[in-house]
Symmetry: C2
Subunit: 373 residues, 2 copies
Amino acid sequence: MASQFKVTPWEVSGTVDYGKLIKQFGTEPITEQLLNRIKKRTKEIHFMLRRKIFFSHRDFNWLLDEYEKGNKFFLYTGRAPSGPIHIGHLVPWVFTKWLQDKFGVELLFQIPDEEKFFFKDNLTLEETEKWAHENILDIIALGFDPKKTKFLIDTKDASQMYKTACQIAKKITFSTVKAAFGFSDSNNLGEIWYTTMQATPAVLPSVQKGKNIPCLIPLGVDQDPHFRVARDVYTKLGFYKPAIIHAKFMSGLLADGKMSASIPNSTIYTTDTPKEVEEKIKKHAFSGGRSSLAEHRKYGGNPDIDVCYQWLHAFFEPDDKKLAKIYNNYKSGKLLTSELKDYTIEKINKFLKEHQKAREKARKQIGKFLFKA
Amino acid sequence: MASQFKVTPWEVSGTVDYGKLIKQFGTEPITEQLLNRIKKRTKEIHFMLRRKIFFSHRDFNWLLDEYEKGNKFFLYTGRAPSGPIHIGHLVPWVFTKWLQDKFGVELLFQIPDEEKFFFKDNLTLEETEKWAHENILDIIALGFDPKKTKFLIDTKDASQMYKTACQIAKKITFSTVKAAFGFSDSNNLGEIWYTTMQATPAVLPSVQKGKNIPCLIPLGVDQDPHFRVARDVYTKLGFYKPAIIHAKFMSGLLADGKMSASIPNSTIYTTDTPKEVEEKIKKHAFSGGRSSLAEHRKYGGNPDIDVCYQWLHAFFEPDDKKLAKIYNNYKSGKLLTSELKDYTIEKINKFLKEHQKAREKARKQIGKFLFKA
């Protein structure tokens, strides 16, 4: 039996086979050749690239061609607010910040505060508005350049977006979104419309400046279908297709698939206290260790299924040498599960301490990141 | 064989049976009792009401109940720009202006400059923008109170509207618009979404002022389906359902159904010269006269099918006595078709002379009628 998995913007289930997903979605794997090409421009390679946390792309080579011709791109990513931010959310954003720093480019950060409202029965726009504010604090806390970063909040900045969204909407039929997203006649008009709003920021600077500007979208791979739908539309409207770079999902503590803000025991929120982090990891982090200390020492653990190791790999241990040592020591049984957990707890809490400080400071910085009303 | 007709926001065909339409749409006929009730407030009755050019309504009695309790309503109507204004377009607006004057109320005038763009393959947003400007001149020329009238231009004022449109969109499924508008899977996302934008202004002042404000929508009856779809949604969202008053269509010169801006020979545009008006009426106005002068004198003409008479009835001869005289004299054969045409030409040209003067003045007044960007 083939393992089944499903990846859509609104549902990720099963064990995702990223190799298969590349074929399914028709994207390109990130090759060593591409990494070398990037490195020429950035001098170093972010560990998320090196470790294939960003594993796939569309048109990244074209983007670099343009860049090398002096045709600078801008970055576009987003966050649909409906709850608190967890560390899994941060993966594409930390990388986006790195891209901004290395290439010195502008970033358009969409906050589609209507999306989850359309898709969740009981969610109100008052709640998404509240979460938009909270989530923006987390994003600012990552250190984006306020001179080069703007939040595009759909319900507030609709006047900037609506005309372009209309252009896109005219070129997409219900048949197309039915096929791409599995919609039926019982979907609401907001759900059906929404993809146009997500497609819009990729060409908004081109519209506003009256010339084509290349766009790079770092995103979780579940968001790719929106841009697959819009891809041909961009061309028909005379715009460049955006380049895209796709991130894998960060696993939940319970190793229950993509980390979800709605499963607290499986999730580390950015506002968790050191105590909460410690308790969650100790209690819930799915371990690759053996059932007894003696067995662990004798046969070793399995880092490949251990959530703490996965998190160090994806986010909290950028140092390849240290990571390799942890891998080998855990595999050999030298490093115990409790020690691996302690190390991870320390790493997470160190990160969160800084993050939470920056998050508080962000309250006073928001204005700089918003479009004037 | 029953005569077939079709009335949707995007197609009016066949000979419309307005009595049947009232049953089909589930609206109420305008009764003498209702006219008397209106007259109590307005002192006089507009001839378009008296003559049942406005023939049908929804919840007008409720609106007057509220008004009499001191709960003032606002007016909402609109114009989807895609071409020049003809005299048929003016019918609901002239009446809306009368309502504004008599009740001293605010008017929200929507310019959904994306609607026709969604529905017409070759129409661009640049063209609808141009027509929006031209059409607004015609509307201002009718004399609306600049202190009490605002244009809501969808692509410019989307930030005001989008959040409320989202609230409405969540409550309408594709099934519903399929049934109401005859949509299929091949409709584009803009067409499917659009009804939410037309539904929005009816509750926008309520949203913005944080309390329920009654709304009265004077419109051509072909626009009713949008509000039929939205009716239950308003209630679900805690708003009043708007009251609606429905106008009949003004016939084209060729008596070929609803006047259409795309059939020049059948249409008098507001920018036509006296000469053009004269030529069109003389050449094309469908006549109820006999085939020879002798026969006309002997048997009389038929004012009920004569376009000139219909236009005097619907728009250009507010004086009931004069109109009755014309009716009787034409019917008896005393009034010839050429005389009826001359009279109508004179009436139209007198109206257009004033209108065109006001239309030029309007160029300098536009700013007063727009929301600040």
